[in-house]
Amino acid sequence: MEPKPSTTPSSFTDQQVFPGDVVLDLSKMANQTIKLGGGLRQDGDVISVMKAGKLRFSKPNKYWVESSNKRYVPSAGDNVLGIVVDAKADNFLVDIKGPTLAFLPVLAFEGGTRRNIPKFEMGTLLYVRVVKANTGMNPELSCMDASGKAAEYGPLKEGFMFESSTGLSRTLLSSPTCPVLETLGKKLAFEIAVGLNGRVWVNAASPSIVVLVANTIMKTESLSPVQQKIKVESLMQRMR
């Protein structure tokens, strides 16, 4: 391979990278702390890419690769939608679309004691928070926020849940509010819960509103913000 002229890491940020690309040379950056997010790994003296996606950088020192997949890589602090698979003595086993099942301790509820353990059947949809996610271990979940309050976590009753990619979930949760939700929210009344693992739950007074919201979100995934607004308007016209 012909030697390439040395390029600074800033030329790789916001660019498409593929597995094997070397993005940082640590021997040239002494006495600096760098935080690596998902998709990057340290290989001796260099940082190389593990997953294909866009390389992102946020000041002061965090690098990560942003990609949209159908599977989820658990990380601490995320809010996800899980489905109960089994109930054991100490934990519920919950499927969060990750490499392994996650554990939800039976006491991880506000005011939870051994006497009032909730009874979740197989297939119950839960809105939970990921507490711990280390490699090789099953992730741990909780239905309380960091201060011990219930804060909207728990089972989601009624409504409709659909699965999509992690990229769509991030778009729906971005601030300022994503154009699809904003346009839908102006005319319709509905409840929505978005999990970072690619699951979305919608609930509304009538089934036709639920179907409209779900279909709109799924169809506008790959459009630009302007196109999204146009598409949403046209879909809502059809409903009137």
Binding site: P3, F12, A52, K70, R71, P99, G167
Partner: protein, 237 residues
């Protein structure tokens, strides 16, 4: 005696390659790759919890299922499965998700020569689509040796059947790097079939196998660029 290739291709010229991602809606990752007329479809499911019985639980396990275009799964399919499994085990990072299984299903849609390279490209693209952590990508090339000792890259089915020897090679793909020197060298997989000669002519040692390797290696960079370009144009949102 110069060999005329179908379509007027040069000895080092490859057939048009096309690659597309996310072709199957239910698979966690999927890709379809074609080299000229040869087409292969690959689907990836995983990582899922649990490994098979005899596998090391401290590493991820990769399982490959090869489905031929027609007929039952027999010995040639099992051989392809084993070759593909060993190749993919080399490029995947196995310690990121220990005790999990990733299944890769390869379906041959049409075989017009150069089947294994096409399958390796399809499986790599499907792994990228699924977000499985990889060390690097693999690019693969097949070459065949004519009676007169000439080396042809990317043979089609007719050429493969007429040749005296056949080599299929997989290399790590070329990467974009901030480092000025240092590149990934080496061969991931090499599969040979037939008789290749090694002989000395005056003071030159002409070993046909190594010539094939050199010609294949020369094609890595253009091949990597084509594949990356195809995969990039779809993931951009």
């Amino acid at each position: 005696m110069d060999l005329e290739r179908e379509g007027g291709r040069g000895a080092n010229q490859l057939r048009p390659i096309d690659c597309s991602r996310n072709v199957l809606s239910r698979a966690h990752g999927s890709a379809s790759c074609s080299h000229g007329e040869t087409r292969v479809l690959a689907a990836v499911y995983g990582p899922k919890a649990g490994t098979k019985k005899n596998e090391n639980p401290e590493k991820a396990c990769i399982e490959v299922i090869w489905k031929p275009k027609s007929g039952q799964i027999g010995k040639p399919e099992k051989e392809f499965q084993m070759i593909l499994k060993r190749t993919l085990q080399n490029i995947c990072l196995l310690n990121v998700h220990p005790n999990t299984t990733t299944s890769i299903i390869v379906q041959v849609v049409h075989d017009d020569g150069s089947l294994l390279p096409c399958a390796i490209h399809a499986a790599c693209a499907a792994l990228i689509d699924a977000g499985i952590p990889l060390k690097y990508l693999a690019v693969s090339i097949s070459c065949c040796l004519t009676e007169s000792g000439k080396i042809l890259l990317d043979p089609n089915k007719l050429e493969e059947q007429k040749m005296k020897a056949f080599v299929c090679l997989a290399f790590p793909s070329s990467v974009h790097s901030v480092l000025t020197e240092g590149s990934i060298n080496g061969i991931i997989t090499s599969l040979t079939h037939g008789v290749m000669a090694g002989y000395t002519f005056l003071t030159l040692i002409l070993d046909e196998y190594f010539q094939c390797v050199e010609q294949g290696r020369a094609a890595i960079t253009p091949l990597s660029n084509i594949l990356k370009k195809k995969l990039q144009s779809q993931s951009a949102e």
